[in-house]
Amino acid sequence: MDEHLTEGYSEPCKQCGAVSWALSDGCQFFCRNCHNVIEKTQDVVDVSSFILNNKISSISSSSRKKTRREGGREWMVCEGFQFILKLQAEALVGLGVCPQFKTDVLWDFWKRYLQITRQAYTRSPVNSFTNTVYLSSESEPESAFLSEASDQTEPMSASGHSTDGRSSVCSGSLDAACYLSAKERKSRQLMNMPRTLALCHLALLWLREAITLADLLRLVSRRLIPYINVYEEFPEEMQFYGRDAIIFRVETIPSYRKVHGEALQMAEILQLPAFPPVTSDCLLHPALLSLRYLMEVNLPDELHSLVCRVIEKSAMGKESFLTFNPSKPKSTFLFYDLQAAALIIVTMKLLFKLDDHVEWTLSRKAVKKDDQGKKKTSKQGSKMFSLKAWYMTVHPALERARQREELFEARRPWKSKKVLIPAMKHKAVVLKRRRVVEQLQSSFHTLTGSVPEQQSSSPSSFQFLWGQEEDSDGPSLHHKRLNCMLEKRGKEKWLVNQAYWHTDLKRCHKKDCRDHYSELKHSLPRMYVWLLGLFSFLLRIFV
């Protein structure tokens, strides 16, 4: 294994005179004959000097019985989560959220959580050391996370936990073992990685910030909020290995539904009072949020007044409806962004019917009306909004954006440089794999002549750019008129389209209520499905 690394060094060993060097764990040169360790350490690895001989040999310099590493301190898993929340809060504040988010709201929520789950700020903490030993002898730590075939745990005997609570051999933190049992996780309402996002979401909601859950997840995906591989930034003294990996490692960005569910549970756990009311000047209010989405999908601004009418009629703009109140049993925890999108879709349906026939007829009429009135219109071209023109503009942009997203997802690095070692016996293998991966990546980078880092895109709440600029996705249709959709009958303006359709409604049990869309999808009009696809791409909700 190491001959290529020690190839350049051919001094004979002082003790035995042979020239056969290898590398120890601590990257020091030692003689294979007499195990004499010398001062020389490994040089910078240069892949181009790869020689073709490779024989694996190394000695381990540390005994397996070490229970405490030098320079570390003992830490609990909730401290780790606290650190992560701090990083996430700082990132959000850096993105424009008001500073009280970090210092007051999120911090208060976290303290409340610790207090309620009796992990801190309480006279009888659950994690006292006598309790730890008691609990551990009861519950069997599972190794269910890793799907590795044979990763049996070391038996959790009393010797693993010394009575003064030193860190155990299988994790850097003190109580990682508790987090592994599903029963305990549920009973003690322990923290996990998606819950950090849920907590951030609740805090943002409390402050009525403009960042919705969909935005939050999009920022996480763009790595503007630390979530994947956050443990890289743990301070040095928090020794991180073993079971900690299972708790803090992330291999999926949680879905919208999951984070929402976690947020609801957290709100229950925290026993929060009624949230500050969502008024009509607040950015979470559907009137303003729908305006934002209308701009995003390049629909004309005139549509907004219609959307507001729909909001009025459906009473979805009322404060009592919009405000979340965990203390009331019947209060629903709303999906603000989904709601705004749904309102826009319903308005479109009212306006165009969206049954694959009417909307195209109406667009043809719009174009005809335009041609008739062309002498009067300015040089800018048609002023009428035509669904067909809108579709022809937005659809290619959507396909390009989907392709970009897919390639971005394909290139996403999940594994970090700071290696996670789930169990000591796998340490050598894991380190070796990491080394191989890094060497492969560097050699391919030199091959391609570039180092394509993940471009940290400038944070923007809009995913499409409509206008006349060079890198825009298409022409802007915001100024188009909707006159052809409305006709005058007497004194009032009525919609041209007077029909509305809906899929069959039926009762379903709450527990069985899962995924109705996949059943219905094939029977829905294609235009409608496309529109749903557009909004689900925008909100990163994957059906």
Binding site: S48, F50, L52, E251, E409, R411, P413, R434, P452
Partner: protein, 435 residues
Amino acid sequence: MDDIEAELGISRSVGNEDFSDSSEDERVARKIRPPILLHSSTAQARAKESGFHESSRLCLKAIRDAMLHHHWQEAAQYLSAYSQTLEDTTVNKQSLACEIIWRLGTEILQHHPNSRLEDFNALYEQMKNSGVKNYAKICLEHSFHLLLNGHIYDAKRQLSVAASWRYGKQSVPQSLDLKLIHAYCGFLDYVIWHMKKSSVSEAEDNSSNREMHSYFRQASVTLQEIIAQPGVWDPFVLSYVDMLEFYNDQEEALKVLQNYAYNKDYPSNPNAHVYLYQFLKRHEAPPAKLISILKVLHHLVPSHELMQEYCYLLVNSVVPGHLEESLPVVFNLLDYPSWKNDLDTWNCLLTVMTVFKRKGLQHLIANEWKQRKDFWLTMHYRAYHGRKDSELNRELLLVKAKVAKLLGEHGIYYNKFSTEVWGPYNVEDKKRKIV
């Protein structure tokens, strides 16, 4: 259909070669899919996969698209992003990742404009040492690559390192791989010996001579072992015989070749007979012996190029009965489309037929022709052939026309083109059936 099932069955069992007990084999068997279906996954599987696995699936798709479109730069970028799958904690995905990166990496490096030999070496070394399943195969491929780029000594060194490698129980495909490695070790010894031989012939140098001889010894030991096992070992046999001939060990060479050709345990291999024939021809064996070898070859491959020589041998042979055998041989040869436009073959046929006519054996010609008339006329003597031959290959046209004359075919349209043989094309002839 059956073969595909068998193929997949084999690959499934190969994928399951584990060095542990059978229960784990079964468990692994349920998880590993045959490599052919690697890129397709069900919608259910996709719904449950983690973000990491989704990224690697999309990355593999992107690499595949880039490679199919020959965008090698892009493919290299995506492959470097894909290399993170080597750190996957799921066992079966991780072992597949090793193989995928090895195969795709070598393919990309081969086509990429900036790739150098060091890149290949580095990739091979890294992939060899990650995962045990593919070690022997990667070693072989690595040494082939070095051999093709002229680094014979490096190739030899690679193979000798690989030959001494062992890990746990040896599975069946692994033992096959190791056998191949052993064989190619011997072959590379031969190649080095050959290089030394050509360089030594200029300068008389004792030490290099001795080296050459030592390589010969090494090579002959290995090759003898390998050739002794039943199988198809064409390049190894040739190299061994070449070395033996240089050291003037004719009997041993003859023994090896005869064993290779006539031993029932070995799979039927026409090349074995060809090599034996060529060897005997080089060493001026009597024609009777050559004829006997070529007779076997004729049974195996009637369309072989050596059949012409066989025919001439038969014609010139003193043994009675051989002459009559020559006509079917050459007629059989021309039954195959590969010899349709070959002037030498047609000349051979013409010669044989003239000899036969001279010796009064027209009845044999008539027999052979009766069997073949209908399909030969469409295969060789259509109007299209006439046009083509008169434009491209005038000589062939003449020879074929002479043959036709000898066969007694006067009325065919083909003869129109060869007025030198037939004289001017008559109107009366037109009335006959035009083929």
